[in-house]
C-alpha cells in the first residue's frame, strides 16, 4: 500500500503518514434501539467501490479530513476538511 493521499493542507503525501478510522458512519441522534445501536457499532457498508472515510495526518499537519477512495483501486477521488473547519468564503 503505497498510494498517495491528498491532504487538504499539505498536498499529496505517502499513505504511511496517515491513519484512518475507516468508513464514515452516522451516529444515532437519539437513544437508539438495541438493533440501531448494534448496527452503528458493528455494521459497515464495506463498499467495493467509492467509500467516504476519515483520515488523520498523523505524521504531518495533524488534521482530520474526509476522503472518497475507491476501495478496489485505492484511487483517491477527493479529499476535504470536515464541513465546519473549512474557512468561510469572503
Amino acid at each position: 500500500m503505497t498510494f498517495l493521499l491528498l491532504c487538504p493542507n499539505c498536498g499529496p503525501r505517502a499513505v504511511e503518514e496517515f491513519i484512518t478510522t475507516g468508513e464514515v458512519t452516522v451516529r444515532p441522534t437519539a437513544a437508539p434501539s438495541r438493533r440501531e445501536l448494534s448496527r452503528y457499532i458493528y455494521f459497515r457498508t464495506n463498499a467495493a467501490g467509492s467509500q467516504r472515510e476519515w483520515w488523520y495526518h498523523r505524521h504531518g499537519c495533524e488534521l482530520w479530513f474526509l476522503a472518497e477512495r475507491d476501495t478496489r483501486t485505492n484511487e483517491v477521488l477527493g479529499t476535504e476538511l470536515p464541513p465546519a473547519t473549512r474557512p468561510e468564503a469572503g
Binding site: 493542507n9 498536498g11 495526518h57 505524521h59 499537519c61 495533524e62 488534521l63
Partner: protein
C-alpha cells in the same frame, strides 16, 4: 515566588538564584558527550559548542543541536511578528510554530495572545537538529521523502517539521526522540563525510554568509 498560569511549561522562568543548581540540558547531551563535544553554558542551557573534526564535517554536512532555541506553538488565527530573529512556520491556517533566540518566549507569547491566539510554550518539548552544508539536502533525502519545504511530515519515521534555512535545513521534533534522531542523522551523514558540529562554528558560518 508563585507560578501562574502555564508557567510550569517555561524553561526561561527557572530561578537558579541562590540555593538550587539549575542547567537546562538538551535530550542529545549524552550522544554529544560520546562524540567528545566541548560544552559551555549559554543562556541557561548546557550547549555543545565544538566537536572534533567539525570543520571537515561542515565542508560536507554538519549536524548541530539547536534545542536551546525558544519555541512557541500557536493555535487560532495569528500573524507572524515583524522580527528578523523570529522564524515562523504556518503548519495549517489555525496552527503555527515560532522559533527564536532563548529568553524571549514570554514577550513573544504576550504579543501573540494580544492578537487573539492561543499560545503554548514548547521550548522544552521540541528539539531541533540543523543540517548545514553542501550535502544538507542530500542527507535530508536519507531521512525523509519531504521535498518542498517548509513541511510537516516525518524524519526517520518520527513526526517532524522540516524548515528550509538557506544553507541547510532544520528538523524540529519531539525531544524524547533526541537520542534516536541524533544517532540516525550522524549515521546517515557518515557516507558523505559529514558529522556533528558545535554552535561556535555554526555561528561563524552563518555570520560569514
Amino acid at each position: 515566588m508563585t507560578v501562574g498560569g502555564l508557567d510550569f511549561l517555561s524553561v526561561e522562568r527557572a530561578e537558579a538564584a541562590g540555593e538550587f543548581r539549575l542547567l537546562a540540558r538538551s535530550s542529545m547531551e549524552q550522544r554529544q558527550r560520546d562524540a567528545e563535544a566541548v560544552f559551555a553554558e549559554r543562556d541557561g542551557w548546557l550547549t555543545a559548542v565544538s566537536f572534533p573534526e567539525e570543520t571537515a564535517h561542515l565542508a560536507s554536512v554538519g549536524i548541530a543541536d539547536l534545542s536551546h532555541l525558544g519555541k512557541l506553538e500557536i493555535r487560532g488565527a495569528s500573524q507572524p511578528p515583524l522580527d528578523p530573529d523570529v522564524v515562523w512556520y504556518q503548519v495549517h491556517p489555525e496552527r503555527a510554530l515560532c522559533i527564536f533566540p532563548p529568553g524571549r518566549a514570554a514577550a513573544l507569547q504576550q504579543g501573540l495572545v494580544r492578537g487573539g491566539a492561543h499560545v503554548i510554550d514548547q521550548s522544552a518539548g521540541l528539539a531541533i537538529l540543523a543540517l548545514v552544508g553542501p550535502h544538507a539536502r542530500a542527507l535530508l533525502r536519507r531521512l525523509t521523502d519531504l521535498d518542498e519545504l517548509p513541511a510537516s511530515g516525518h524524519a526517520a519515521r518520527v513526526r517532524a517539521d522540516v524548515l528550509d534555512r538557506g544553507s541547510g535545513v532544520w528538523i524540529v521534533f519531539g525531544q524524547d526522540y533526541g537520542h534516536y534522531l541524533w544517532e540516525v542523522a550522524v549515521d546517515a551523514a557518515a557516507p558523505f563525510g559529514g558529522g556533528p558540529i558545535g554552535l561556535d562554528v555554526l555561528e561563524q558560518e552563518e555570520s560569514a554568509r
